[in-house]
């Protein structure tokens, strides 16, 4: 029955509804355009009260759905009148739909602005939707937190959902697990924190009805340095170019005999040091230009003499970072690279340690948690390779391969004062001794060598994380370095002695405060103070020890002149620094300033004489900023703090670009400040570093990096050009240098038991001893440096690896003739300076290791074989006494080091 309408308007509306939800937004079909003079619907009816139809049960249970098209009359008061089925589905569906529709209430339609009755078409859908059944609180977000490198579970890590307000957080259990219940759907900011961890934050998307289970890999904190890091991206690099190796990887690198710190020799940008030297040649810099820091305190030697071992027990080391250049303002006093060694935290409970022995040396370490907060570790090592060699090789081995005797020992005590506050005292000591005597049929040709070197450091490090997230560290230290070298030529009272003795007292304080000052901006500032008091004595020829740039030939007897000098120098270097870390979206900037004035205090200014009293000197010097031009207004900038800057642009999640640079200075080498052999007035040398590169993460653990660099060196100390230099000016500071190149690294971090890397460096390093001279090759220049290494855990305790190295030979000056002098020896006539090279070096090393897990210990046996192919690598050019026949001294043939390590 259709009630007559005064003005019947044909209006088609299709309104869809379902049985289980409130009606969805009605979708109206456009009304047909009205003819002129006809009434016009000015407002469509609006469903304001929906009644859900009763779903026929058997249909619902059978999962049958249907749609019923209804025609509904709506009065001018909005009430429903007749309802007819236009297109039915089934009688039960139709009846249910009609019954429900009759209970609808509408806002009336309007025609020409007035409420009016209308008829609409309404489609009622019977649909079945899954019901969410509330069963009580449900875990919908959980996971595990693991240490990134060791993959061990991390307990007591606070996991907070920051956007849900304070208190929405949990703590990981002993297995590293955490879980949240009923986390609202949507994106949430998750923050992981622990005093021992680098705080990281990430975002998780929780969806309705789904449980999100995650695995977080976190990195332990580098105390006082890393307060914050960006998640799912590499830890923010503090240096423009930096390679960090974890001890777990480093120990397994073939050719290092398990010595963690020897891995540095295989990192990008590092040249190969001559056999037995153990020097670090980084980006074309001299070994003395690279600084080695342990927990921020400088040590004089990373390796024992001969380079067989590092001077610090590997088990005390947590990580090694190498920055070949462009490093931040926290560090200085070096024109070359920076090696940062971070000592490891001590185990929180129990007694742990190890004993290891191989044919080179024996070492051991013991650590114990004395109380809940107090932990102690002691370690030591002593070598015996010299005695092993004496018993298994011929006597004249020592003539060409002097094997030093060394020992080192360490102690470390850490005390947790309270939450996030710790004080650690560390004692480091290292000794090297070399004794050899090579008799000759002519006593005048007897040779001998007595060398001793040692260093000791006592480091106290206080660290605190403040409640506001800031960090504070203060590291006072003192120590003593001694080195004595005595080369003896001849026999008896008139034997020629050539030696240098330097005794150095070292005092230092490093303090740093770091806090976040704004969103994305962290500021740190500090003071790096160091005072070194040297007392030096030297006797012998002025050309020994030789220095970079000297034209020499291996095995030549030194000139017979004898000079003697004794001098004292104190260098006090007080360097305030400030750095910032500004994160602006994908760009991270690390600007820094370092002001590095050095007070030079010494005596005497001229060679000691009976006729005149010694006079001392005192002066300040700065590593001034090299600036172009001579404008007066630029002058203040020359003496301004040295700028440093590192910029990282994270272009994508995988690709990032880094650029860096800065001005660096290095205090004079006290050995250069002898009035007799050197020049007491030499000052700081300076350098500019520039670098830029890209890093591409091919996979989460596979990274490719490429970096280009340029270094310019100023005020380098060199020999005087004059054959008759003025008194106390045998050395000048005229030298300049440059090195440039590119390095590439493809690195697979530890994954499924495998790690390895391929690194290649293309470097050219040149020097001018005086501005009027031509560029010459730097003594340590190596054009190509390639290292390929890999290690794999085969399972069942077996592990193996190999390392291949290739380097261009070092430059040498050819001998083009000779002459007899004094009727007893020949001297060489040299060709162009550094115009030839030693043949290229390449070598394959391998390592096999087997581990057994015992009840309370782990036993490890390894065989580290160097030079597997027994290649005769030329290490040095040697001539016959008349310099008419040339040959090569070759390095070690196959060297297999068998060792064992018991760890508990």
């Amino acid at each position: 029955m259709i009630r007559p309408f005064p003005k019947l308007v044909s209006l088609a509306l299709v309104i869809c509804a379902s049985t289980s939800v409130v009606p969805r937004r009605a979708v109206a079909q456009e009304a047909a355009p009205a003819a002129p003079g006809e009434p016009v619907v000015t407002k469509a009816p609006k469903l304001v009260h929906f009644v859900e139809a009763v779903y026929p049960k058997d249909r619902h249970d059978a999962g049958i759905t249907a749609s019923v098209l209804l025609s509904i009359e709506i009065g001018d008061d909005g009430k429903v009148g007749d309802v007819e089925v236009v297109q039915g589905a089934a009688p039960d569906f139709d009846a249910a739909a009609v019954a429900a529709a009759k209970q609808f209430v509408f806002e009336p339609a309007e025609i020409d602005g007035q409420p009016a009755p209308v008829k609409i078409t309404y489609k009622y859908d019977f649909t079945i939707k899954e019901q969410l059944v509330k069963l009580g609180p449900q875990i919908n977000f959980d996971g595990v937190v693991l240490e990134r490198f060791k993959k061990k579970p991390m307990a007591n890590v606070r996991v907070a959902l920051k956007d849900l307000g304070p208190g929405v957080e949990g703590v990981t259990d002993e297995d590293g697990h955490f879980a949240f219940t009923d986390v609202p759907p949507g994106k949430h900011k998750v923050e992981l924190s622990n005093p021992k961890l680098i705080t990281v934050s990430t975002e998780e998307d929780i969806t309705v009805g789904k449980r999100r289970t995650v695995k977080y890999l976190v990195e332990e904190r580098e105390e006082g340095v890393d307060d914050e890091a960006v998640v799912r991206a590499p830890r923010i690099k503090k240096e423009a170019v930096e390679t960090r190796i974890r001890t777990e990887e480093a120990r397994r690198v073939p050719g290092t005999q398990g010595d963690t710190l020897k891995v540095v020799q295989n990192l990008p940008g590092v040249g190969r040091s001559a056999f037995g030297s153990g020097q670090l040649i980084v980006w074309g810099s001299a070994p003395k230009e690279t600084v080695v820091n342990v927990d921020g305190v400088e040590i004089p030697a990373l390796y024992h003499v001969g380079g067989l071992r590092s001077t610090i027990n590997s088990d005390l080391v947590r990580s090694i970072d190498l920055s070949p250049g462009s490093y931040g303002a926290e560090y200085g006093r070096g024109l070359g690279g920076l090696v940062k060694i971070e000592l490891a935290p001590l185990p929180k409970e129990g007694v742990h340690g190890y004993v290891a022995a191989d044919v080179i040396d024996t070492s051991a370490m013991l650590s114990a948690a004395l109380t809940k907060n107090l932990r102690l570790a002691v370690a030591g090592r002593i070598s015996y390779l010299d005695r092993v060699l004496q018993s298994v090789t011929s006597e004249d081995v020592g003539e060409f391969v002097p094997i030093p005797r060394y020992d080192d020992y360490q102690a470390r005590l850490t005390l947790s004062l309270r939450q996030d506050e710790e004080i650690a005292a560390t004692f480091l000591a290292s000794d090297d001794h070399l004794r050899r005597s090579i008799p000759a049929s002519d006593p005048a040709q007897d040779r001998g060598q007595n060398s001793d070197s040692a260093y000791k450091r006592f480091i106290v490090r206080y660290t605190r994380l403040l409640p506001d997230g800031a960090s504070l560290s203060v590291t006072p230290s003192f120590g003593r370095d001694t080195s004595t070298s005595d080369l003896v030529f001849g026999n008896g009272a008139t034997a020629q002695h050539i030696g240098v003795t330097v005794d150095t007292w070292h005092y230092g304080v490093r303090g740093a405060y770091r806090r976040k000052i704004a969103q994305g901006t962290t500021l740190s500032f500090g003071l790096d103070m160091q005072a070194r008091a040297y007392s030096a004595h030297r006797v012998g020829s002025a050309n020994l020890p030789s220095r970079e740039g000297d034209i020499t030939v291996f095995g030549q007897l030194p000139p017979k002149e004898i000079g003697v000098d004794q001098w004292d120098v104190t260098l006090t270097d007080t360097a305030p620094f400030v750095t910032a870390e500004i994160v602006a979206g994908r760009l991270t900037l690390l600007p820094g300033l370092r002001f590095d004035p050095v007070l030079v205090d010494g005596s005497p200014t001229r060679p000691r004489s009976d006729a005149t009293a010694d006079r001392g000197y005192e002066r300040f010097d700065l590593p001034g900023n090299p600036l172009p031009g001579h404008s007066q207004w630029l002058t203040p900038l020359r003496y301004a703090p040295n700028p440093r800057l590192v910029a990282t642009l994270r272009a994508t999640k995988r690709l990032s670009f880094t650029a860096g640079g800065g001005v660096y200075g290095q205090p004079p080498d006290v050995e250069d400040m002898s009035p007799v052999f050197g020049n007491p007035s030499v000052n700081l040398s300076r350098a500019i570093h520039l670098s830029g590169g890209a890093s591409f993460k091919l996979r989460p653990t596979l990274t490719f990096e490429v970096v280009g660099f340029y270094k310019k060196l100023y005020d380098l100390v060199s020999r005087s050009e004059s054959p008759s230099p003025p008194v106390a000016q045998s050395l000048t500071q005229d030298g300049i240098g440059r090195s440039y190149g590119v390095q590439a690294l493809l690195r697979q971090e530890l994954m499924k038991g495998f790690f390895g890397w391929v690194t290649y460096s293309l470097i050219r390093s040149e020097r001018k001893d005086h501005p009027d001279q031509d560029w010459r090759l730097f003594d340590y220049d190596q054009t190509h440096v390639l290292a390929v290494l890999a290690s794999y855990q085969f399972g069942h305790g077996w592990e193996g690896g190999a390392r291949f190295r290739y380097t261009t030979g070092a430059p040498r000056t050819p001998v083009i003739g000779s002459f007899l002098v004094g009727s007893d020896e020949y001297d060489p006539i040299f060709g162009a300076h550094n115009s030839i090279r030693l043949p290229a070096f390449y070598q394959l090393d391998a390592r096999v290791e087997r581990s057994w897990v015992l009840r309370r210990a782990k036993l490890n046996l390894f065989l580290d074989v160097q030079n597997v192919t027994n290649r005769k690598n030329p290490e040095e050019i040697i001539y016959n006494p008349q310099f008419t026949v040339k040959g090569y001294i070759t390095g070690l043939p196959t060297l297999a080091v068998l060792g064992a390590r018991l760890e508990f």
Partner: protein, 331 residues
């Protein structure tokens, strides 16, 4: 060395072989080839003050024996050696533009440069800007030396040698009393005197060279002095006069004391065939023996061959004497 090392490798769990000395050809004591080789340059007297005439002669040889009356180009070097130069004389002394060539012949006589103690010694000196320059350092015997260059060219091949003539200079930078005592004790160095060379001294001694220390050196032999069998090994003993190792004072720059020393003696051995056990032998300062021994293995020959042998004796203050002999090696 290589053999002993390899044996050790098998016996040791450690497989290690140290760097080996490469084969660098014949020992320095073997004079081979026809190119000239200067074996010694002698100045007489061995030490003299600046301005004193000194006569220089040379011992030059090749595989055929001593080069008689060599046409040596002599030159004086008036250039200092840079303090850190690893050679005994500076590279400038090899540059002909800097070294005046005065005469050619087997001997050369000239006074020591008048400013030798400033150029090569401890006397204070200034540069062209009147700035005091660094004095030269003495050797372990307290000596300073002026280089004299001898250049011998035969058949297009050249051999260069420098005599280092010890110059008598005043002690510098020492207390006056020490200087006075030094002047009282010091005597200019004299060349040592080789008195004999004996073959097989413990068996059937055979004098290869004999000289009366008070007389002149005998002329080189024109025929072999003796003969030996092919491939035989013999001891050789060289002797020198009792006053050859002289005593001398040295101002010890380390202890700042005046010490007395006795000259050590060094002997260089040269031969045209066969092989010495040692290229050099000698006696230390503390050894009072007036002899030194070496062992020589004659070459293996199929026909009689004359072998030339030279010995050069040098004291630690730079004094030199030399002698020669000829031995026939029979199959």
């Amino acid at each position: 060395m290589r053999r002993s090392l390899n044996l050790a490798l098998w016996a040791a769990p450690l497989v290690l072989a140290a760097a080996c000395k490469p084969d660098l050809g014949a020992p320095v004591s073997v004079v081979e080839g026809t190119d000239p080789r200067i074996l010694a340059v002698r100045g007489v007297p061995a030490e003299a003050p600046a301005g004193t005439p000194v006569t220089y002669d040379i011992l030059a040889a090749n595989v055929d024996g001593r080069i008689a009356n060599p046409a040596v180009a002599w030159a004086e070097c008036n250039q200092r050696k840079p303090p850190a130069d690893g050679n005994a004389v500076g590279a400038a002394c090899l540059d002909e533009t800097l070294v005046p060539v005065d005469m050619t012949g087997p001997t050369y006589m000239a006074p020591i440069l008048s400013d030798a103690c400033k150029l090569f010694g401890p006397q204070p000196s200034v540069d062209k800007n009147n700035v005091a320059i660094r004095p030269s350092d003495p050797d372990v015997t307290g000596g300073f030396y002026a280089p004299i260059r001898a250049e011998l060219t035969v058949g297009g091949a050249t051999s260069i040698a420098f005599a280092l003539e010890r110059i008598t200079c005043t002690l510098a930078n020492v207390p006056a009393d020490a200087a006075a005592q030094f002047n009282m004790l010091v005597t200019p160095n004299q060349n040592p005197i080789l008195t004999s060379l004996t073959l097989d001294p413990d068996g059937s001694p055979s004098a290869l060279y004999v000289r009366d220390p008070k007389g002149a050196a005998p002329p080189p032999p024109t025929t072999p002095v003796t003969w030996v069998g092919s491939g035989a090994t013999f001891d050789l003993e060289m002797a020198w006069s009792a006053d050859s190792p002289e005593s001398f004072p040295v101002w010890n720059v380390q202890t700042l004391t005046l010490d007395m020393h006795r000259e050590a003696m060094s002997a260089s051995w040269y031969v045209t065939a066969g092989e010495f056990q040692h290229d050099r032998t000698g006696r230390a300062e503390t050894e009072t023996d007036l002899t030194t021994r070496n062992q020589w293995t004659a070459p293996v020959v199929t026909a009689s061959t004359n072998v030339h042998l030279w010995i050069v004796l040098r004291d630690s203050r730079g004094g030199i004497d030399f002698a020669e002999t000829t031995i026939e090696v029979r199959p």
